[in-house]
């Protein structure tokens, strides 16, 4: 698939700039576009249980966001260092940016040093194939730096909100550079509704790196992917296998869950797995472990959008996104939700 095929028009007034709770609404007070083989339906997020069936399994990411954005001093002046993926406490893949609204790549040389408070951070080498990312080596662990000086990663279209804004009902294990946001509208009330409908919930862990990668290569499949730490437990792999054996559907809550489950898939079903994955779920790759996806609305030419085409095909994605623009659905982490079910949504 050509990079250009993942472009689409979307007016900037469809960027969700603040979370609904700052307007006195509930987190679940967002809209839900449902796309299945019969077309599109417009609903509210609280309607989610009625599109699922008893015996379906929702899989959620239990990683919680950390304040991964650090102000740093450099040869180029004051910059931001957004940490993305932890290799060790003192070694991360990180994205140096001019500011939250102004990305890089910044013209650093390998070996250059940054100062973060009293800590020194060396930019070792750029990440192969992704020049805006670097291996960043601290002279100490980054953990206290986050705790003392970190802010949540945010971009030009929104402010930094308090850290709890970026956690979900399922956030349990700190480590994501950015919130796995698809579960954000799942409130206790929604969870009760799901459980009441006979839908079960199982967790995986995948620590997300910085934002969905913008695809820079000419063809989508050639894009270099950076790895993310993940874990699929025996309990969850058993739950997925049992759901499929019983004719239920496995619905991933977020693209991170698709990546984790597909990384644990084998022709004999799912297995417990722990490690780093840079699996790229792209249009030419068949999806085996997941039957549907609950997600947000993604930017043009990103790896997340490429994943969506693996569920819906390019025409399906174009049709859904045209529908979303026409009906004013809101984009990004505080925006509306999209339930993608390649088979019919209701029994």
């Amino acid at each position: 698939m050509k990079r250009a095929e993942l472009t689409f028009e979307r007016p900037e007034n469809l960027f969700a700039r603040d979370p609904p709770e700052t307007r006195g609404q509930g987190r679940d007070d967002v809209r839900l576009l449902v796309t299945d083989s019969e077309g599109h339906r417009h609903a509210n997020f609280e309607d989610l249980p009625q599109f699922l069936r008893a015996g379906d399994l929702l899989v959620v990411n239990e990683s919680s966001a950390i304040p991964a954005s650090l102000a740093a001093e450099s040869r180029l002046g004051s910059i931001l260092l957004n940490l993305s993926t932890r290799f060790r406490s003192d070694l991360w893949v990180a994205e140096p940016r001019w500011s939250s609204g102004k990305p890089g790549p910044l013209p650093f040389e390998p070996g250059e040093e940054l100062r973060i408070g009293s800590a020194t951070v060396r930019l070792v080498v750029p990440y192969p194939g992704i020049p805006r990312l670097w291996f960043a080596l601290g002279d100490r662990s980054f953990d206290p730096l986050f705790e003392e000086r970190g802010e949540p990663i945010h971009y030009g279209y929104t402010d930094a909100w308090p850290m709890e804004t970026y956690q979900t009902l399922f956030s349990r294990v700190p480590g994501s550079a950015e919130m796995p946001s698809a579960a954000r509208p799942i409130t206790p009330r929604i969870r009760e509704g799901l459980e009441g409908a006979g839908v079960r919930i199982a967790p995986i862990l995948l620590h997300t790196g910085v934002s969905s990668l913008e695809i820079e290569s000419e063809t989508v499949e050639a894009q270099a992917m950076y790895p993310e730490p993940f874990r699929v437990s025996q309990e969850t792999s058993d739950a997925v296998n049992r759901t499929h054996a019983n004719g239920g559907r496995v619905i991933a809550v977020g693209t991170t869950v698709v990546r984790a489950l597909e990384s644990a898939w084998t022709p004999d079903g799912l297995h417990a797995r722990n490690g780093f994955t840079r699996l790229f779920v792209h249009p030419d790759r068949e999806i085996h472990s997941v039957d549907g996806l609950l997600t947000g609305f993604h930017d043009p030419v990103t790896s997340h959008l490429a994943m969506l085409t693996a569920f819906l095909g390019l025409d399906g994605v174009r049709s859904a996104y045209a529908e979303a623009v026409r009906h004013g659905y809101m984009w990004h982490e505080f925006g509306d939700s999209h339930l993608v079910l390649p088979s019919p949504a209701t029994s």
Binding site: L91, R122, V124, P227, T277
Partner: protein
């Protein structure tokens, strides 16, 4: 060429370090604060690599052939001087004749040389370095190849030597576990290196990635608890690097 390392500094020994994968890996670990012992047959190239790395890390560059016992002894004497050996990378490899002949035309003498360099010398280095490796709870990385399992025409000698090396790695991992020494086998995948060019003499290999494509894997591997990954065979360019349960 040699300068001082500090007692707390980790030490890596890399064979075949003057070009290709070995050189890229040497640069990456040097930038992460390791002291380096570098081995290569190419005296001039090794000198150039050492000069480039010297500003980054203590480097001891020792030219020689890994099948030569005296050369291996000099490498380990350098590690002894630094008092430790945290990572031993057996990367030096012999492809055999170029272009690669099919097995029915392969030279038995070449096969002996390929086995000597790719299988026997790595084991010899582990045997001889064992006291240092035990003291440092070291990690041995044996560089393998997809030819070890592929059965690709022309790659028989090289592939057989790497398949044997894979089994050496796995067996050593089991045998050395109680000594606290870890062993992994790593298939770096196709790369644009001199060896790959020799294997495909006269062909354009510019579609292959440069060896720095494997850096994320090395960053990951060297960040793991070595005992937890010991016995594994990894593909550096694969989408998944698994820690066994």
């Amino acid at each position: 060429m040699s300068n001082r390392s500090t007692p707390s500094q980790r030490v890596a020994l890399i064979t075949g370090a003057s070009r290709g994968l070995g050189r890229v890996l040497a640069g990456f670990v040097a930038k992460q604060g390791y002291a380096l012992i570098l081995s290569s047959r190419g005296v001039t190239e090794l000198r150039a690599a050492a000069d480039e790395l010297a500003p980054l890390a203590p480097v001891s560059a020792i030219p020689g052939d890994v099948t030569d016992e005296g050369h291996r002894r000099r490498l380990l004497e350098a590690a002894e001087r630094w008092g430790r050996l945290d990572v031993l990378v057996n990367n030096a490899s012999e492809l055999g004749d170029s272009p690669l002949p099919p097995l029915n035309k392969a030279s038995q003498q070449t096969f002996r040389r390929v086995l000597d360099v790719n299988t026997i010398a790595p084991l010899a280095l582990v045997q001889e370095a064992l006291p240092l490796l035990i003291r440092s709870h070291g990690l041995v990385v044996n560089i393998s190849s997809d030819a070890a399992i592929g059965g690709y025409p022309g790659w028989g000698l090289y592939g057989a030597s790497k398949a044997a090396l894979d089994l050496v790695s796995k067996t050593l991992a089991a045998e050395l576990r109680e000594d606290g020494v870890s062993v992994v086998s790593v298939d770096p995948g196709d790369m644009r290196t001199k060896m790959h060019q020799d294997a495909y003499a006269g062909q354009d290999i510019s579609d292959r990635p440069l060896p720095d494509v494997t850096l994320p894997f090395w960053a990951w591997l060297l960040s793991q608890d070595p005992m937890k990954v010991s016995g594994m065979r990894y593909q550096a360019q694969a989408p998944l690097w698994e820690v066994p349960p």
